[in-house]
Symmetry: D2
Subunit: 412 residues, 4 copies
């Protein structure tokens, strides 16, 4: 369901916008300004870009007597919308020491004030739909703020914590079991009446052969067995592209793992912690997820990653869950950790559903043009904002991306 069904749109606006500032609160102005790689953006940029979205797509066409807060921001905080004009080069976002964090906060305040005014006076459903899109968009950036700042802090030899805290070791989860699904001709894609992104549409028929899904994600303990069995030294387990990266030293183990004299540790948003056997392995690429599955298949015939259709087929009965700054261990019976722990790599490349059409105008440059050389991840992670996930949600990243909270769900 979208916001407008659940709560007053103005209240939703305030709630979501406030959350972004909460995420930035533990960070200094310096932390908010730096960019650790072209794929990641500074927190300040996220705060400004999400504001730019409301200013550009809602205030500009709908506010009477619209004047931009600052005309240069149109370019500075455009991410990739060609339809809106020029944009600042992505790899140089970290050089924007001006506007300052304080000025960006002032930008947010100003746009929020004007949005409140607009929403108070307007019942235009087109505006409401754009606000909903803008809030969903902001929620996506809220997750990125956390994963991007994690990547930045991890580059610092001091390994500073986002919020320092000692993490308790999770209780060992039960052994992985297989849950069977009949499959058959099934409808896939969003079928409700609330909000969804255009890439979840149209709902359509697909044939799913009978399959089984693992009851929970692969744990650190299980992944460590793969490492200790020589998984990163055996080319037969790897996609050729992945093996090239392993040989180049780019993928020696999951991102953020640290091999110390006193054992494996993991850098988390709470700082460096001893590796917790019970929690799911996270920050792995599709290459690693796939290699792990192939390794398992040597002893358990047919083990592999699920397709996105299989995942969605199974997810209809799964409980939503969310929260925290690191994926929790599985707890309980049945189909666990579908949501709220790690995004789950599928073997499906990111492609349009049959009959897919992007929204008209610049706002439609949201999904379609990225549908090549990316792979679908399903579910949600600990960092996904509450209320943002659903069974038909399609997240997507290149096969080598590791800085998201990605994990491994097996199928067979």
């Amino acid at each position: 369901m979208g916001f407008q069904q659940r709560e007053d749109i103005q209240h939703a606006y305030q709630r979501v916008r406030a959350r972004s500032l909460e995420i930035a609160a533990p960070l200094s102005a310096e932390d908010c300004c730096a960019q650790s790689m072209p794929d990641a953006s500074p927190a300040k940029w996220h705060l400004a870009h999400t504001t730019w979205f409301f200013e550009t797509f809602i205030l500009e066409p709908h506010e009477p007597g619209f004047a931009p807060f600052h005309c240069a921001y149109r370019v500075l905080f455009n991410s990739y919308y060609n339809g809106v004009g020029a944009r600042h080069p992505r790899p140089q976002r970290g050089l924007l020491t001006r506007p300052s964090l304080d000025e960006v906060r002032a930008y947010r305040l100003d746009v929020d004030r004007r949005m409140a005014q607009l929403l108070a006076g307007s019942a235009d459903p087109a505006v409401a739909a754009l606000v909903e899109l803008g809030l969903q968009h902001e929620q996506q950036h809220q997750e990125l703020m956390l994963t991007d700042v994690k990547h930045l802090l991890a580059q610092n030899p001091l390994y500073p914590a986002y919020t320092p805290q000692e993490m308790e070791a999770g209780a060992a989860p039960g052994s992985l079991s297989w849950i069977a699904f009949d499959g058959g001709l099934a409808e896939i894609g969003y079928g409700g009446s609330g909000f969804c992104f255009d890439n979840e549409l149209p709902r359509h028929w697909t044939y799913v052969a009978p399959f089984e899904l693992a009851s929970r994600l692969v744990t650190n303990a299980e992944y460590l067995e793969f490492i200790e069995a020589g998984g990163y030294r055996d080319p037969a387990l790897w996609l050729a592209e992945g093996w090239d990266r392993v040989c180049a030293g780019e993928i020696p183990h999951p991102l953020y793992w640290i091999d110390r004299q006193d054992g494996w540790h993991e850098f988390t948003l709470h700082g460096v912690q001893p590796l917790d056997s019970a929690r799911p392995v996270t920050h792995v690429s599709l290459y690693e997820a796939d290699a792990y599955a192939r390794w398992r298949a040597r002893n358990e015939s047919g083990v592999r990653l699920p397709t996105e259709a299989e995942w969605e087929f199974a997810a209809r009965q799964a409980a939503l869950a969310a929260g925290g700054l690191h994926p929790p261990a599985a707890n309980g019976d049945g189909l666990l950790q579908m949501f709220g722990a790690c995004w789950q790599w599928t073997s499906s490349s990111y492609a349009p559903y049959p009959g897919y059409a992007p929204a008209p105008g610049a706002v439609g440059e949201y999904n379609g043009k990225f549908m090549v050389n990316q792979y679908v991840l399903r579910g949600s992670s600990c960092a996904t904002p509450d209320g943002h996930a659903r069974a038909s949600y399609r997240n997507f990243f290149p096969a080598g991306a590791r800085w998201q909270f990605t994990g491994i769900r097996l199928a067979r």
Copy 2:
């Protein structure tokens, strides 16, 4: 059908092996040695590597008293089989001025002699199956020999022809029409009793929604309209990755097109020729094929590239055809140019069929490990050897590859 059903395996061996030398015949030793890019290999290397395949996978395990022709060739002419040991770095194949072309010919003769001896004395069906695989493998390299040497010759400002010849302009084909298919639950994958590659298996059920397929490939004349309408200047038509390459100047028009004062020309294996309006556009990337389809969709709702399942569904009734050194114009009625003109980009990423398992051993490193970040092309091209194509055949290349005879078949 595989070779062993069609003809005596020994005869097939002689026929296919001889064909490779025929392809090399118009080339000098210098032409056969150079490498124009890491993706392309020298003709001499193709001649040696296909021989290495028979020596390594058939003679070594099956010839009594096997001794290698030259022990260094094991490394020099291994392409990517990790299971067989080290290999010469791919981008440096053009530096192998030794062994000479004459020595590689001697290598072929020696292996052919020993293969003849082995085949004369053996009725082992495992050997026959490997010979079949080796011949199909050599046919794939025969197509690459032509496309790789075309790329090499195109780097030379003299634009030398592989075989000089004036090409006749084709007759203008009829206008493109749409052929409707009902779709439904359908079996996809190879279902015959002859040879197929492992990636065509297992045959499996899939659901295909009703669709229409264009009766023929997009012509040069039609593609030129797209160029003249500003197709390469409009970001809204392009996948983001493709647009980045267009902006970087890497994709200004189809590969081998030459913009001269007296009009567009095209470099072909017969030398530079005036662009023939009637022939299909070829040497385009998936990015270009996709952008062209989006441009058409502005006026004809729903136009897009087909999925590989749609293509295969339709292809069951299509006639095989082959031959020549440049794609011919369409001629006739019905579903034309499915085979023998240009490989056709689909929107399907190259992924394993449900239940896919590679062959055991090093020979199984043939398909599976490349199933990421590549896209499926269907059909065959003018350069595909006679008898090599079939409806279930899955060719695959990265989205940016342009040096194959790739073309555009539309769907909707």
Copy 3:
């Protein structure tokens, strides 16, 4: 003369150290953290590294009961001293959002307090010599703080000023005249009793043929003539390496020049200003300086860049001058602008003087190991701290460096 002759060493310490903080004062914490290219460092890093120098080379060996302020700083703020151990990778200095600017200020305070204590209690001339070296080193970084932050601000489309101010156009200087020198066998290198860097030693004999030196630096107006005459389009004027960069679009005009509809402008530390005809051209590479000289030589036989020996020979009679944030116009008669405007490219590569020996220990890794593929600049710039320059001073940068205040003095 070194500090110890001029003033009490403790006073000098306080004065120089305070100046670094003054330079950082107009900058926010964000401004101080970002790094715009690998060659430039964040202001915060400069503040910390200069402090690290005193802590590592003076406190560590000389302070009783020495304990480091923070043991990780040893690595974080080491620039290039292999003798002192590991160091943080230079291109990633901008990712060090921690320690914060406040923490670095606290680091400075702590080291300053301990240095004051040490200096109060010690009359060790070895310590005094190291303090002098540390202060001269800090002055070098003071100049870099200004040029590095200028480069950073110039990457921002907002073109923020370091200190906003309208610059007055200088009065047109008199036309360039030639001042003749007899040359002869001459002593070059530092010959005084004060401080100098090891690369200025030993003083040695060299033969200087008779030559003439331009009375002042080349102005913006004169350089503009070169541009308008097609200087950047004529390969005959350029060193081959420079021409390659011109063709690659890397050197279209002096760095920081902006071509606007209403004429040429220049980004300065005071913000964007109309190009001032009277001031010297600055932020040019050796390639540009050399090309300009060759262009002048077409009409004035023998015009070229000076050697460093010629420059030093002439400079003995030149007046020191300093100050400001942009090079001032020449004013007066005689040999002008030798100091305090722009560093002046010479045709001399940076090489050891005959008999040169670096200081023993890690502190000796200061000059010698950079004596390859760099060129000597002589004089000083507007950004050089007061009291830092002298006639024998040898500055050095790669031929392509442009972010320093570099200018052109002609010889013939």
Copy 4:
């Protein structure tokens, strides 16, 4: 002395031109076509480019009714003369499989025939001077043909020999002694009446302090001591740029050295040979030569590389020598191996002599534009053609170049 003094110019032309073909004689067409790195050129290209030089700079202006042999060759075989128009990109010379080696031989024949005709009928001293320049130019390329083909063959895992032959170990040379020179004000540069390159002019005064020069080159045995003492692991010995390359694994030992179970070997033009202790170390960069000298300086105060002025000062009394395909061991007393063994790195950057002016026109693009970021090598090597060397000769390469026959002469 130039050719015209020594022998009839026509005879010289025939002799030098014939020598190029002799050098190519042991090579196949394939060997002559490949290019192993951008800095090296195919032998076929050398054969064509040297011919292009005569055609372009002599026949074109001086032959009545001149018509080019093939108009495309003007671009294909231009090396770097901007004044003559476009040129084929250097890194793609190896892709020129056409014209064939036979066609290039025909090109040579044709130009030689026309040159003979021109020379028979002309006594124009300007023509004679250009012929002399063309022959000297061709001799330089003769040396490059050998070093470039050596580099190519070394990339082949088969390590084919240019001319297979077992090399005899040299007799151990006497221990290195120091020969003293008084120095003083001296004239440097070519002072004779024969041919020299423009970079050897003008002859000029320079001051040379008293110095000593090593009696012979550093041997393999001596260099091995440096390696075994950890020379490649000690940053204190290296220029910073060189150390970066060592750390990147690019410079593990002299180029072409091979570390085998049965000891060090060296790839030579005669194939792989056991490392000969008596012969001079060769194929070292300036970084290695400089590091070796610093290592020696730890025990012998002041050891370093010579300047080019020192080298030339000393060379006036040295005997010319030449020949062979690998540097021979020193033999005898006095100042040995100044010529005919290895080019000797100096500490002098390649810069114009005072008053230097390049020749007018395109032919003047020979030396001047390369006078940046290169270092002077003096003497000659085993591969330098007989009669090409002289004491004032200035060879030059970037500090990292290793594929020439470079060696180490110490000074102090």
